[in-house]
């Protein structure tokens, strides 16, 4: 389950949020109650083989043979798509799932695996981001009249809400994993404060922590706290290894980004953390990924994108016209000729460091499949150009500095 940046609950970290639905929040409902009771409806739907509307992102990923969140979460309970019936029959959770079904979806268990979004405190304004996820984007969007109001209220500054979460974690005897997201965690004092509370409660010995950083800052105290946990899964957000990364993850500096990437990887190697490069391929970066894949292979770390970009739709790689996709597909396929592991089975456990290379290969294949199969959405180019021009008017930069090969394409769309 997940607590989003507004403090609202969602049944899954990958679930597409229905903005019109009523979402209980940590200010009104305890996490245990939400897990046991409020998730009953979605549990019932799933055991009956229905795909709730919120699961559409995972449906799309599986359609393009990209391992989705559904497969990864099922794997944690021992269930695999490729031998589903037998692995489900063997799952330690089988009886619990059937018991919840008999109990109208209500579970007697407590959550073991949470994603907790600590809000939008962020010093980056990535071009694909929005105020919900970045306070800096909020300030910029308000200035540019993209939005009229911004809500920077942080639920993690509500001591009662944080206590409710910590109480629920303490009451969850089998709590195993907490994945923190939300803005730039390295600069968020709530992140350190919560980690310290978990350490003080002695939960650090049983909990594995996941977190992602945008590689803009470093905090020794945070590292000191993280190393006390049972295990750490670290995500390093980066789009490419050139100054285009600074344009996309504005206003980062690729020199600092690569320096911090090395520094985090050194800590990870020293303490046996699991590391991944977290990428969010867009229409702008999809053609610049190969050096990043080479970096991943030479450092034995995997790359992973949570999903194919759907929001904003005009940033999706599908916006590239088919003709411009061809050289990118050719480059990626050429890379695969050299690096393909020709593995017979697909990796579902994307955190296995022993198969990092295969994972990168599968990631590359998923982009090739996407570029080949996804219908041309170049009709969205005017929307893309309009957004870039608006942001550039505030930032004083130009996409053509980094992607001169798209000059005509963008000019035709109004650049």
């Amino acid at each position: 389950m997940r607590i989003n940046g507004l403090g609202q609950y969602e049944y899954c970290r990958w679930a597409v949020r229905d903005p019109d639905a009523e979402h209980p929040s940590i200010q009104t409902t305890s996490p245990i109650t939400f897990f046991k009771q409020n998730m009953a409806e979605v549990r019932l739907a799933m055991v009956n083989g229905e795909s709730p509307a919120g699961c559409s992102m995972c449906d799309t990923m599986q359609q393009h043979e990209k391992v989705g969140g559904r497969q990864r979460q099922l794997l944690k309970i021992g269930v695999r798509d490729d031998y589903y019936d037998k692995s489900f029959a063997s799952s330690p959770w089988r009886d619990e799932i059937l018991s919840a079904e008999a109990n109208h979806g209500v579970s007697n268990l407590s959550p073991q695996d949470w994603q907790i979004d600590l809000g939008n405190l962020c010093n980056s304004a990535c071009i694909f981001c929005h105020p919900y996820a970045s306070s800096r984007v909020g300030v910029e969007w308000k200035k540019l009249n993209i939005v009229t109001t911004i809500n920077n209220k942080q639920w993690v500054n509500d001591d009662v809400a944080v206590k409710s979460m910590l109480d629920a974690l303490s009451a969850s005897k089998s709590i195993a994993y907490i994945h923190f997201i939300g803005g730039e965690l390295v600069i968020n004092p709530a992140f350190k404060r919560i980690l310290q509370s978990l350490i003080d409660a002695g939960l650090n010995h049983q909990i594995s922590i996941g977190f992602t950083t945008g590689l803009t800052d470093w905090d020794d105290e945070l590292v000191d706290a993280l190393v006390q946990f049972k295990e750490v899964n670290m995500g390093l957000s980066v789009e490419c290894l050139s100054a285009l990364n600074d344009y996309i993850r504005y206003p980062s500096n690729i020199g600092i980004v690569t320096m911090l990437m090395d520094k985090w990887l050194q800590v990870a190697n020293k303490h046996g953390w699991l590391s991944q490069l977290r990428i969010t391929p867009t229409v702008l970066s999809i053609g610049k990924l190969v050096p990043l894949f080479d970096f991943a292979l030479s450092n034995a770390v995997a790359t992973e994108s949570c999903n194919f970009m759907t929001d904003p739709a005009f940033m999706s790689p599908a916006v590239l016209p088919v003709k411009l996709r061809e050289p990118i597909i050719a480059e990626l396929e050429s890379w695969l000729v050299t690096n393909d592991t020709h593995a017979a089975t697909k990796i579902i456990n994307t955190r296995d460091p022993n198969v990092a290379k295969q994972q990168v290969v599968e990631d590359v294949k998923s982009y090739v499949n996407f570029l080949k199969d996804q219908p041309d959405e170049s009709y969205r180019l005017p929307d893309l150009v309009a957004r870039l021009k608006l942001l550039e008017s505030n930032r004083g930069n130009s996409i053509l500095t980094h992607l001169p090969e798209y000059a005509q394409l963008f000019k035709d769309a109004g650049y």
Binding site: G49, L75, S90, S174, A176, N349
Partner: protein, 145 residues
Amino acid sequence: MHNYLKTLDTKQLLKAKIKFQPIFDNGLPHLEVECNGVHKYNNDLGHTLAIYINFGILEPFTLNIAMTGKKYSAEKETAIVIEEFVIDGFDVVPYLNQASYSNDQNYNGGTSNYLGFNGIWSFKINEPFYNWLHRNTGQGWLLTP
């Protein structure tokens, strides 16, 4: 989406196949095979032998193999090789380093599919096979309720 409720009639038995190949340059080895408490073979082995056993999907699995009758010689070998060991279509041979081997030469240098001493070679899966498979094929955590 899979329908969990439709899995309740999943076939509950898994099939294991173990195929033995004897080496008998210095006389036939005597082979005794017991699998999940069932004696499957007890005789001298002068030919390739395949045995099969069905066991429950949630049952543990134990294979005990006893070889006797070997006369040790520096020039001629007597041994038994597990040429094939498959459970429900999955090759188990790469995991036979998890076996234990009590033998008359007090050899404890690791186990494989090669049984070269008089003694008892045992391989155990102490949990449902698919949970064992999960743990042994790099599938990450297997959370329990």
